[in-house]
């Protein structure tokens, strides 16, 4: 039975003397490897050089604000329910009078935490959110942890700064993953 047209029939034919002498094959092998010696290396020197990973890369989480700087999250808990790794936890609170410029809805997350050791960067929280409040940045990775108590990200790390707003665009012009805010905004 032939499964592909690339199959090759196995043969155990006698080797010719030239093949038995082994040397021509050795020389052939050496020629192949020396060609690789001079080839351009495909290696990317990672920590120094970073590659643009595309607009669909799932990196650092971010809690969005809207155009007026109000937090979009309404602490509905859908992301925490969707999260397969149970990384998200939050405490909801009621918006007081005078806080309308801080929070968009009447309910907001007083505490919003993601345990980055648990998170598997699946992006389900992003999909579950009805308010477009949580995103995974395509241009920034979660930095390496040094300490155990650094791994739970609170609102300080998650809520976006108004002077560094995250906009997701596909831009193949950007070669490296931009980590500076200027590069992110230049892409809009």
């Amino acid at each position: 039975m032939q499964l592909t047209n690339r199959s090759k029939q196995v043969s155990n034919k006698e080797m010719t003397l030239a093949e038995k002498m082994y040397l021509p094959a050795v020389v052939g092998g050496l020629a192949i490897t020396i060609r690789h010696f001079f080839r351009k290396k495909p290696t990317i020197q990672y920590p120094e050089v970073k590659k643009y990973l595309g607009p669909v890369y799932r990196g650092h989480h971010i809690l969005k604000r809207d155009e007026q700087g109000r937090e979009r999250c309404t602490a509905c808990g859908l992301c925490a329910v969707a999260c397969p790794a149970e990384a998200i936890s939050m405490v909801a609170a009621e918006r007081k009078k005078g806080e309308e410029n801080l929070y968009r809805e009447e309910k907001y997350a007083a505490v919003y935490e993601i345990n980055m050791l648990r998170c598997i960067f699946c992006g389900l929280c992003e999909e579950a959110c009805p308010k477009q409040a949580v995103y995974l940045r395509h241009d920034r990775m979660v930095p390496v942890f040094q300490e155990r108590d650094e791994v739970v990200y609170g609102k300080e790390q998650l809520v976006e700064k108004m002077d560094d707003r995250y906009i997701r665009v596909a831009n193949s012009e950007v070669k490296a993953t931009p980590t500076e805010p200027s590069l992110t905004r230049a892409a809009t």
Partner: protein
């Protein structure tokens, strides 16, 4: 011998010793770089510029690892093993003639001292003696570990080294016959003109010598003494820290020494085309002493160029060829190389009798013709009975 000669000799010996160690150290780095390049990788590049401090980092790691001696091992032999391996490897570098000679005048006496640690007229015999002692380093280590895997590895190493030493010696005998001397310097001096280089007069001997040198150094494709799958490591299974380092280091020294001998015995040593013309021109323009020393320095550089090429070749082969199976190894040694080298000796002798230096080319030509004929006659594809 007066004191000046002794002092200069001492300096030369120290320099050669230092160069040997330095090259062996940096061979470990070069090995990793070459391996990486052949596999489209970049290799060590974090320790120092281009990773040049990597050997030092490796050595530091070796020093700080736990120095472990199995409780049932015979302690002194266990320590002696790596020392022996290291010692024999270092000793064999002493008869390599690195360049012609240095001249200088001191107290109105003119001195001319060859650039070689010791100039003895039985150099080749000395090498054989020392190299065959190298087996003891491995054997003692494997035996003293009191571990059956180590012992098996050591026995494999010993049988491999011994069987390839015979072919190595026989292929060299053809050169000794042509030179009529056992001194390495005389063999090098014999190859003064380019087409007299032994690689051109002894092509078959060269291939046998090269292959046996690989086997003697226990380098791939003949690195049978070590094997993770069958021997849980090899003769050095029980070794750790700097003792293991000594074994590995001895391998690199062996590689350097073998490369030096290959270039000295077959590639004219420190000779290069138009060497005498350049030498006399330098002496004429710079004066007898300075010109001669400069010419010697050039020879030194040329010789090291050849050595580096062969070290590179060793690594190139290592990352190209798969290793032999043990029975193939033995077959190759006893059934192929020994008869071929004997044939080589016979044909060389006949050639000397009729004053024809390039006689061994006949063997090569006959073999090539036979190979081509067999290829032409072979059926393209064997007929395999089809299953119905």
């Amino acid at each position: 011998m007066d004191l000046t000669i002794l002092i200069v000799k001492g300096i030369i010996i120290l320099v050669i010793f230092g160069i040997t160690l330095l090259i062996a150290t940096y061979s470990t780095y070069a090995e990793r770089k070459v391996a990486a390049f052949l596999q489209d990788r970049i290799g060590p590049n974090r320790a120092g510029p281009w990773g040049l401090l990597q050997p030092i980092a490796d050595a530091g790691k070796m020093f700080f690892k736990e120095d472990f001696i199995p409780s049932q091992a015979s302690k002194w032999l266990f320590i002696l093993g790596p020392c022996l391996a290291m010692l024999t490897a270092l000793m064999s570098s002493s008869v390599i003639p690195f360049a012609d000679s240095i001249r200088f005048a001191w107290n109105k006496v003119n001195y001319e001292i060859p650039v070689q640690a010791i100039e003895i007229n039985i150099g080749v015999l000395y090498i054989f003696g020392v190299v065959s002692l190298g087996v003891y380093g491995i054997m003692v280590g494997g035996w003293a570990s009191n571990n059956k895997f180590s012992l098996l590895g050591a026995i494999r190493a010993a049988s491999q080294n011994i069987s390839y030493e015979i072919a190595l010696g026989l292929s060299m005998i053809a050169i000794l016959m042509m030179t009529g001397s056992l001194s390495v310097r005389a063999i090098v001096a014999e190859q003064a003109s380019f087409f007299e280089w032994n690689v051109f007069t002894q092509p078959l001997g060269f291939i046998i010598f090269l292959t046996c040198a690989f086997a003697e150094c226990n380098r791939t494709p003949f690195d049978l003494p070590e094997c993770e799958t069958e021997l849980v490591g090899g003769y050095h299974t029980e070794y750790s820290s700097m003792k293991l380092g000594f074994y590995l280091f001895a391998e690199y020294i062996n590689m350097f020494v073998s490369s030096a001998f290959i270039s000295a015995l077959y590639f004219g040593g420190f000779h290069y085309p138009f060497m005498n013309e350049i030498g006399s021109a330098l002496e004429k323009s710079l004066g007898a002493i300075a010109g001669h020393n400069l010419a010697t320095a050039i020879q030194f550089v040329v010789f090291f160029g050849k050595i580096f090429f062969f070290i590179f070749f060793f690594m190139w082969v290592r990352w190209t060829l798969p290793r032999f199976r043990y029975d193939q190894l033995m077959n190759l040694g006893w059934k192929t190389f020994i008869p071929l080298s004997i044939l080589n000796v016979v044909v060389t002798g006949a050639g000397l009798l009729y004053n024809f230096k390039y006689a061994t080319w006949l063997i090569a030509i006959v073999m090539i013709v036979l190979a081509v004929m067999s290829t032409a006659r072979a059926p393209k594809q064997a007929v395999i009975p089809q299953r119905s």
